[in-house]
Every structure is written in C-alpha cells, then in structure tokens.
C-alpha cells in the first residue's frame, strides 16, 4: 500500500475531487471538517488507502485523554497552480486529562468523532509533540507559505 507524504490527500478525497472536477458527480455539500492527531510513525505507517478513521494505520489519539478533533476552517483554494488550501486559524487540542502520546501527524476528516469519519488529508508535523497532562497543543494559522500551516494541494 502507498505510504503518505505530507499534505497528501487520502484515496477518499482523491476520488471525491476527481469525480467533482470531471463532472461525474456533484461536489459534496459544504460542511465542517475536523483535524485529528495521529501517533503513526513518520515514515511508512500512514497509508493513503485508509478511507476512514477506523483504519489501523491512523493511530489517532484516544479521547479518554481529553483529546477531541478540532473543527478546522480553511481558506478558499488559492488561484494559483498548484492551488493550495490551508487552515485559516490556529488550532488547539486539549487540555489533556492524561498524556496522550506523541503526535507525528494531523489528519483531516469529515466528523468530530467516530471511526466512520472519512479521511481527507494527512500532514506531517514539523516537530513531533508529546503533551503532558494539563497541557494544550497548538498549531499556528496557515499562511500558504511552505511550512506554515496545514497546507494541502492536489
């Protein structure tokens, strides 16, 4: 199975995008997307063929630690080639009620909870983070510049 690189779409999102731009189907209705945290290894663990958060390769933080996926607002895709989309505001997870482990990835998905949520894109964190009990974990708002924000492109 193909491993993901930073900012890459998952298979579910690739299909949604291609079916929409080739006018095969209507685009999905506008809705919120959510940013999850994953402790999957930085190399070779996260698979682009994982279509839902139930996939064993995702390794999402446990909600028993106070963790919850965060609603993520994104900019409109930029008028450029390659076109980019990224988070328009900062995101903060926690406060954690127990140490949740080490976050290596952020994974965008379609629902605030549940393993049936579809996966959209994966982002390798610039630095792995290991929050302690009581801590919050914050990611900066995106700017569209390389390395600043959760930036995805087709």
């Amino acid at each position: 199975m193909p491993a993901l690189s930073a900012g890459q779409l998952f298979q579910y999102a690739e299909q949604q995008a291609l079916n929409a731009v080739f006018l095969k189907t209507q685009s999905p209705a506008a809705a919120s997307v959510y940013q999850a945290l994953s402790s999957a290894a930085t190399s070779g663990a996260l698979q682009s063929t994982a279509t839902t958060m139930a996939d064993a390769s995702i390794s999402e933080f446990a909600t028993a630690s106070g963790y919850a996926r965060q609603a993520m607002a994104v900019v409109a895709a930029t008028s450029a080639s390659p076109s980019l989309i990224y988070n328009s505001g900062a995101l903060t997870w926690g406060p954690f009620t127990s140490a949740p482990g080490t976050a290596n990835w952020a994974v965008t998905c379609t629902a605030v909870s549940g393993t049936s949520a579809n996966t959209i894109a994966a982002f390798l964190l610039a630095t792995a983070r290991t929050p302690l009990t009581g801590d919050s974990l914050q990611a900066a708002a995106g700017t569209g510049s390389a390395g600043v924000g959760f930036i995805a492109q087709v």
Binding site: T63, A64, S65, G66, Y67, A68, R69, Q70, A71, G89, A90, T92, G94, P95, F96, T97, S98, A111, V112, S113, G114, T115, S116, L132, T133, G134, D135, S136, Q138
Partner: protein, 85 residues
Amino acid sequence: VVAKSLVGRTFTYNHGEGLGFGEHHAGKPLIAEMRDMDLPSGAKVTLFAIDEDSKDPVIQWEDSTGQGRLTTVGEDFFNHFFVAV
C-alpha cells in the same frame, strides 16, 4: 451516559476549588502558557456532541484568546463539574 438530547445546551464548568480543567487533571499549577489555554472554572461551554465511540461528552468553549476549542470530558467528570445553565 449523557443524553444526546442535551447537545446544544449551555453548561457552566464549576470547580469547587476554582481549578481549571487541565490544572485539576495535572494535580498542580500549570505554567503560564498552558494556563492561558486552560478551561477556567466559571466558564460557559456548549455540549457540542456525544463521542460516537466512547459516548463521552465533547464540549465547545472559547479560551482566553477567543479561540474556539473542542474537548472530550469523561462522563463522570462532566456530571460532577458541569452545571446546566
């Protein structure tokens, strides 16, 4: 189990000793940076969802910087420290 019918309702986080949510669980004062991002006692929150898997409540609130946050709260903790407005 916290009833799904309560989703959308407002609650107040009331800690008897005035501790923040993270501070309570840490069992010690938080450093200033983390304290600013903690849920303080007395804060208003909205029950945003019931986690599909754990059935624990997910609350929505704003931190001291005005940023919207979602946090999962253990059911027992929610029933003890969160009071419906």
